[in-house]
Symmetry: C2
Subunit: 343 residues, 2 copies
DNA sequence: TTGCGGCGAGTGAGCGCTCACGGCTTCGCC
DNA sequence: GGCGAAGCCGTGAGCGCTCACTCGCCGCAA
């Protein structure tokens, strides 16, 4: 113990240092730090002063070791470059912070179940207390469902998985609203540019579209499939241009709608005079497309926040699963839709 | 110590359990886990088998406590909903994982220096070994510079701060390229829709634009200032329409360019025939604007990756600071620009 | 006076790991 | 055949904290 001779050490101060300075025991310091009762005000003040003087920071690893709580939540996401996931992450982080948690992120490279298990394991090895998975593909969601994990997991996505707690958007409803709106305007039917087949959002939006057409007795055209990107929307547009009698198109997201608008524009097809276009998401740019895009708004940030609340609820009440929370999207009308042509 | 009687415990297995099962000491288990030399192959195999059988996971908190290394890096970002920050975060996460680190994120609510200090402190309290700050505003960068922190910090941004290690994009260069290209096409001068005044990218792009005009002896018009959003680009567009003799506009990002295009379109001003427009960033959608946008491409993912490499380098070699890394952007030509009108 | 409950502290153990050591075995070499 | 070196493995301490105790003191009722 010859370290005393070295004077003011470089070493970070620990609880014992604070205790010595304040003239109390380390336990009292701990009590002050954790807001425990039965500490006299002046004692507390002395401790706090000592903490400030030494610029003492509790060591989170030591605390985590003994309490078995890391105050950390994990997020696994698929492509956090997309607007949706990025916004959800943002919402999650906000909610986590206000609930007193840190958030640790990791992203998936591939979509197989192993990759999901790997990511969750990685997070778990780090000691996270719970995980929210933003990976709305059939493969990943079913992987989450059969995840062998000791930590609570909530998914954000879609679909009707009931095995895993989840928060999602009413995609079927939103798609139905969009499709119904177009039908109401007199369009004989509505074409659809869908997202990737293995995404749940994609499936649900397609289903909402299809069901609405069927309920209205409208013909159900073949689906054009994209990958969410503007590029794929453009390519779908090229195919749609070839088709006869297309007067209305519902795109599964705004980016693809942008690509579609581009293709239509190049082909000299006026929107909305000849063809009406509706998107999904309401990204901030949608109002500035040419023409401004009618779309279905969903609040990604809220989605993330709700997912986190759900996780924290599960964590702190140790209740098994509050089931499934849904957020209702809303149709936003802009200039990209109009009544069906009379010809 | 009556726990033995309970048989197979619910309790997570610890190193001692593995050691007992493998018939070795806990230290040998530790050696196997950490790849230490001097362990006989068959001993190693026995240990590995025991680990698998018990599904043993090392406790990261315990390890962090003694090694004083958390294997965690922090990221503080400002608005991770924007395409740029989101992509950087993605790049950072990838690079961190392949370097063997976890990533913990937190975002800033406000822009004052206190907020930055707070965020970094928060991360530090969690035990991160280093921090990368994605918050490219004058206020935050100078806050980073005078950060009182014991952990290494690297910033990703712009500007010529030398006090803090940084990786940035050649914004001045990119803006110069864009402006120069327009001048080369015969435009008398180039107008500018700038980003927020307190963002470094904004300042640098504006400076690159201004310098290029001055070098060419072209008049320097008043700057229209936006906030990166398409909405603000639209509003800038409304103002620009009022001006006489505008034939070329350089926007500080693609989103504002989109808004500008919208405003021009509504006013019946043809792009590029009457007015040429150039953006900055090359977001994936830029190629599908109406018309497709000429812009300056920067690789955000690479930016993030480089920032993380820099941080890890600093961490592992304990060298003070490799200074400043710059990434060169590239002009991408599309249909939104054309030669100056002859009239 | 004695007893007793609760407030305000302190003491010691132990969380699960790594690090510094120390001891035993096996080999190479003169 | 003996001796040093290296390979292989075990022992104990301790990282910085919290949790379960214990202890002294004061006030109040018996």
């Amino acid at each position: 113990m010859g370290t005393e001779s070295a004077g003011t050490e470089q070493r970070q101060p620990v609880m014992a240092d604070v205790a010595k300075l304040a003239g109390v025991s380390h336990q009292t310091v701990s009590r002050v730090l954790n807001g425990a009762p039965h500490v006299r005000p002046d004692t507390r003040d002395r401790v706090l002063a000592a903490i400030r003087e030494l610029d003492y920071r509790p060591n989170s690893a030591a605390r985590a070791l003994v309490t078995r709580r890391s105050q950390t939540l994990g997020v696994v996401s698929f492509d956090s470059t997309l607007y949706g996931p990025a916004s959800m992450l943002d919402g999650i982080e906000q909610a986590a912070r206000s609930a007193g948690y840190f958030v640790s992120v990791t992203s998936l490279r591939s979509l197989d179940g192993r990759s999901v298990q790997e990511a969750v394991d990685r997070l778990r090895d780090q000691g996270v207390e719970g995980v929210v998975v933003i990976a709305p593909q059939t493969s990943t969601v079913s992987a989450v469902a059969r995840l062998s994990s000791s930590v609570p997991v909530v998914a954000v996505g879609s679909g009707n998985q009931t095995q895993v707690p989840m928060v999602s958007v009413g995609n079927r409803f939103g798609a139905g609203e969009a499709t119904g709106h177009l039908l109401d305007l007199g369009h004989r039917t509505v074409h659809h540019v869908a997202g990737p087949a293995n995404w749940l959002e994609s499936q649900d939006r397609e289903e909402g579209w299809r069901l609405t057409l069927q309920a209205a007795g409208a013909p159900v055209p073949e689906v054009q499939r994209g990958d969410w990107s503007a590029r794929s929307g453009y390519q779908a547009g090229l195919r749609i241009i070839e088709l006869r009698d297309v007067t209305a198109v519902f795109c599964a997201n705004d980016h693809m709608a942008l690509g579609l608008l581009r293709a239509l524009h190049e082909a000299g097809r006026a929107v909305p005079d000849e063809i009406s276009v509706v998107g999904f998401d309401d990204i901030p740019e949608a109002a500035y497309f040419t023409p401004p895009l009618t779309t279905v708004r969903q609040d990604f940030g809220e989605l993330g926040r709700r997912a986190l609340e759900m996780l924290v609820g599960e964590l702190e009440s140790s209740a098994p699963s509050p089931g499934h929370v849904q957020i209702t999207p809303e149709l936003v009308l802009r200039r990209s839709v109009g009544p069906a042509m009379r010809r």
